[in-house]
Symmetry: C3
Subunit: 282 residues, 3 copies
């Protein structure tokens, strides 16, 4: 399992998967492909019972989707993209991860925005440091999270808080992410790795019968939400096509692409404001 | 847009709507009519993208529904009232506000009880100061919130906390309202206006495409809850007719109507106890 | 109402039911029978409007289901057990309590694990001291909560936190139980009894019309979740039969049964680790 954008390490029945795409841990088309490949292997991997998803980068879990790749996907027929009207590539990827037979744990100690947060919402449980920063920046650039994130956020934290997070496009920290129910709990940076390691070790000893039965109960309980989830995906997908075709949105994203470096990404909301001003000045 | 019970002020694409019905900001039949009128205009108002709902009164967001108007509505054929079995006037009003194409924000810094809390639960996002006080006092007078509030509370915060809030009829503060998920978050009194202003300014720049798509995802995700919502409304509505016809409830409300002043409203639960004792003494 | 495992005391319209099965307040087959008997009486008891469920024991609310009785139920045809494929005895018991016309309040000041937590999740509102300890230990012994607890937890607190609680099998305190939405709120040990007494007194004065209408709204709002609940129960029930028949699970439970005393129960997760090691050493 050698990947260019993922560092994968086995520890018994636990697989540690760290996003490893410096300098920003952008989610790229390549990373999406590798995450599909890994998920495909996990479906048939009976040796792995727990997957811990983290980052090799001290500051970024995942910055967001690579804007350059968004344009390439829009314009280049050779870039893989969804052929279906109702579900797109990132929605399919996150749904595949959500449906894995293993228990997946997201461990966030850094910046987790856009597609990074969309991916996190598809993990089975999530922990974050209080200093971590989360954001769905899409609305401030004229679109919305379209990799399943708009729908999953609404399903998971209710409409009032979901609308706020989606439309404000503000940064918020790990403490608030826990209060809003986006992560299970927040844990101090000094403790989080030991805590998640210990949890993963314990989960790795659970019998297949227990894990399967818990997964089946979850499926029964949330079965009625599945239709809602896929209906939401279809709206996201449709909006993605429409909004990314808007010239002003494309112009804004081109400005933003030029600011896609560590300095500007640390305070992304401010950089988006800067890009918006540059776009408006044209 | 001149109203007797609402102070309306435009700031670009933001409309500030402050409840302004001194001395208690009671929700009256007149206010309901004005809120219908305003909502009707907003449906076709493409200049307004955000509505901030607050109060001109330092102590009251909305005290509750005017008890005098409840009796007038029961007895006076000239007072407008629901002609339908399954939905009443306040349920229709809150549903109309809930369905507005604009983003609505509730800002509570004071007392928000009864119909005020019912209205708040129909806004798209809500913020409150820690010192604010919330209450559904209805159960202590022999009825229950019947303007959509019983149903929306159950849908939004789950049965265990909803039953407690509804049946205890206790006052609770903004910190607890946030912990129970009734408001998005609580913010210090010194900060809340600046925070909500800044949020509203940012929301006002969101593209119509983004807001519409987010609203559509919400609709898809919560579509299955709509049947539940209207079924709940029908039960509320039926209970309203039955319970407000009970002589002891009417007697109690008449006692309470005499205490409908600022002093007694500051500690409404205590005043209700006093009214109940006076009713029992007869 | 004389029971061997329940101390029942009437205070006007309030019935105080304290689990009273020293030394551990284990839920036994006898206690299940007495809880069915009491629920059956409450269905027709129009004098009781509130039921407060607590414990006579300073340290244990309910330790968990008696392991000895699990084996007796498996092997002894004279022990009452479910004759139905889709619902078992404890699922039926908790559903019967959940559906009572009275308002039920759980008051936890101590250890509440396994079947105790399953029962608590079926009460209408719940309060706990910060020092209380909660746990679903089942996964660490190779099975899962099968008295409705897996399903109710998923329905009540969402999949991410439910999976963590179920699969980690870790102890957590009352503060976290409140943060996760498992109890309504946590209250200091010095205040909780007075708080719940005062609440119960107020609830006892609520009119039957109000309580019935609130219950009907809840039923309408959560009607669509009922199918999910019973589907979840069927999976639990099926997993119970399968997993309790696994020789390694039975061997582990026999080891654990020998540690079923106050000292070992205070830190049950550690005792389970000890039992697992003993089982592995064989």
């Amino acid at each position: 399992m050698n990947y260019n954008t993922l560092a994968v390490r086995r520890d018994g029945r636990i697989l540690h998967v760290d996003f490893d795409n410096p300098p920003l841990n952008l989610m790229t088309v390549e990373m999406v492909g590798e995450l599909f490949d890994l998920a495909g292997k996990l479906v048939f991997d009976q040796e792995t019972s727990v997957v811990v998803l983290g980052s090799t980068h001290p500051e970024f879990f995942i910055a967001h989707f690579d804007i350059g790749d968004i344009f390439r996907a829009l314009n280049d027929p050779d870039v893989p993209q969804s052929k279906y009207a109702d579900i797109n590539v990132v929605q399919a990827l996150t749904t595949m991860w959500e449906a894995l037979p293993q228990v997946t744990i997201g461990l966030v100690d850094g910046i987790c925005r856009g597609a990074g947060l969309e991916f996190l919402l598809a993990t089975h449980m999530r922990f974050a440091t209080p200093e971590s920063r989360f954001c769905f920046p899409e609305a401030s650039s004229g679109f919305l999270p379209t990799g399943g994130g708009t729908t999953r956020l609404a399903l998971q934290i209710g409409p009032a808080r979901a609308r706020e997070v989606l439309l404000s496009a503000r940064d918020f920290d790990g403490t608030e992410a826990a209060a809003y129910g986006i992560v299970n709990r927040s844990l101090p940076a000094d403790d989080i790795c030991a805590y998640v390691d210990d949890l993963a070790q314990r989960l790795a000893t659970r019998s297949a019968g227990t894990v399967t039965a818990v997964n089946q109960v979850m499926a029964k309980v949330y079965n009625s939400a599945l239709d809602a989830q896929f209906s939401g995906f279809a709206v996201e997908n449709d909006a993605m096509r429409t909004l990314l075709a808007v010239p002003a949105v494309q112009q804004h994203l081109r400005q933003l692409a030029e600011l896609q470096d560590v300095d500007h990404e640390l305070d992304l909301p401010a950089s988006i404001t800067q890009a918006a001003a540059a776009t408006a000045a044209k």
